[in-house]
């Protein structure tokens, strides 16, 4: 069975600062995808970034970047130059490539950006 662990229930960061969210996962699969989704108070789940396990290069998307350590089964998200609109719950999610999209989510990390 696959599990996804987010050990930080809540993180607080000031505007313009950087925050890093941790995520670890457990799997015996070699091919899989990893995602970070953002869920603001409106509850719309929004894709932040996606990483394919076979790619060694870490994915980046504007102010969002990941540190993917396959051997350690770690997938952290860095938010640079934090903005008030980044306040949301962030979920790490995992799916093996042969599971046809069955996402396993972590419990989430609440990020609060303060002025």
């Amino acid at each position: 069975a696959q599990t996804v662990t987010q050990s930080q229930p809540e993180m607080s960061v000031q505007e313009a600062e950087t925050v890093t969210l941790s995520c670890t996962y457990d799997t015996s699969e070699s091919n899989y995808y990893l995602f970070w989704y953002k869920q603001p108070p409106s509850r719309q789940m929004i894709l932040v970034i996606r990483q394919e396990a076979y790619k060694q290069q870490n994915a980046t998307e504007n102010r969002f970047s990941v540190n993917f350590q396959k051997a350690a089964k770690s997938f952290s998200l860095k938010i640079s130059d934090s903005q008030l609109g980044d306040t949301a719950m962030y979920f790490c999610a995992f799916t093996p490539t042969d599971s046809w999209g069955k996402l396993q989510f972590g419990a989430g990390t609440q990020v609060v950006v303060t002025p």
Binding site: R43, M45, F91, D98, S99, W100, A107, G108
Partner: protein, 113 residues
């Protein structure tokens, strides 16, 4: 491109009543997912459709939950009868094919009294 549409956004019912949720996926997306999200937790998959076929419904409580995706486009998730523990957010998502990036709708928040 329009996103995933869900209705209603909010629903309050009394226990033992039936309730139904509707989802319209992104145009061209063959795969549709229903997730259950309890307060303070990540979503959990209830059922996945490839076109009109339910290919993974192992987590769907079939004694009271049912779903359909007629014509492989819109989908309806039904609960009958609803229980207090069904209070949660029900999320619908779609992707072009199974395994590709999923895009989520705004969800339906259900409160069972």
């Amino acid at each position: 491109e329009a996103g995933v549409v869900q209705s209603p956004r909010y629903k309050i019912i009394e226990k033992k009543q039936p309730v139904a949720f509707w989802c319209n996926p992104i145009s061209g997306h063959n795969t549709l997912y229903w997730y259950l999200q309890n307060l303070g937790q990540g979503p959990e998959l209830l059922i996945r459709y490839e076109n009109e076929e339910a290919v993974d419904d192992s987590q769907l409580p079939k004694d009271r939950f049912s779903a359909e995706r007629l014509k492989g486009v819109d989908s309806t998730l039904k609960i009958q009868p609803a229980e207090l523990g069904d209070s949660a957010v029900y999320l619908c998502a779609s992707s072009r094919q199974g395994g590709e990036t999923q895009y989520f709708g705004p969800g339906t928040r259900l409160l069972v009294l």
